[in-house]
Subunit: 152 residues, 2 copies
């Protein structure tokens, strides 16, 4: 596995383009049927009758699709060791069948770990827009990366 990007390479203010993904109705319904079977994620009529205004993806599905972009576009060419959690998620707009989502990751701050000197935390803000350039999703989370200068 390529591991080009290490903790030392991340600088606050940098933005990484994570590319884009298009979602179909079948994918929206399949995810919802397995993980989030609320009527407005499964059925067009229920979607239209809801605050979403139409059949729309589970917010967790949107996060999962963007996680794929983050893994392909950044983490899998880095020394990422995973994340302890997420600080905040904002679902700003519904995601409808046929929408194309584009994501960026912006480095907010970096911090060495006192207890694990071979690792550091990089705080990342993920921003996602749709094909109309309207905000769909934000999340912020700390991700652990190994340092290039590993402890012995």
């Amino acid at each position: 596995m390529a591991s080009d990007l290490h903790f030392e390479d991340f600088v606050p203010g940098q933005t990484y383009d994570l590319g884009s993904v298009c979602v179909s109705k079948d994918e929206i319904v399949a995810f919802a049927a397995e993980y989030d079977p609320q009527p407005f994620h499964l059925d067009e009529e229920a979607g239209r009758a809801s605050m979403l205004g139409g059949l729309a993806a589970s917010g967790w599905h949107t996060c999962a699709m963007v996680m794929r972009l983050l893994a392909d576009g950044l983490l899998n060419r880095s020394s990422s060791k995973g994340a302890p959690g997420v600080d905040t998620i904002e679902w700003k707009r519904p995601v409808f069948p046929g929408d194309t989502l584009s994501a960026t990751a912006t480095i907010q701050k970096v911090r060495s770990l006192v207890t694990k000197p071979d690792l550091g935390l990089v705080f990342v803000r993920i921003a996602v827009t749709n094909q109309d350039d309207l905000p769909v999703l934000f999340w912020e989370n700390p991700i652990m990366f190994a340092k290039r200068e590993m402890a012995p």
Copy 2:
């Protein structure tokens, strides 16, 4: 769709049992292959070499499985209208193949919406433990519910 629980029914301190779910290696790998293809979620050897200590589920997969428990155990017998986001997620321990996850939802606070008088926000804390009763996941999020006494 049954809609027994409305905004007025939620009181801070109440806890709802959401039941449990067991996860297999095949499910862990299938989710990761689609949404979070980091080596430690896909491959046993990479998992053992990682901080997780073994092939372990994507944290987003764990959230999705618990979302299913929340939908089946609470939201789909309520007037839920969806959620604007998540305030925090803590992934406390890895989820390994064969683990059984049990979840509860505890009501933290409730708040009427000034701009939408027929709705209210219920702030819920989700707590998830494994078969050894060890904490695996927490999240907190506000969920919108219709009031029983709907505005005209």
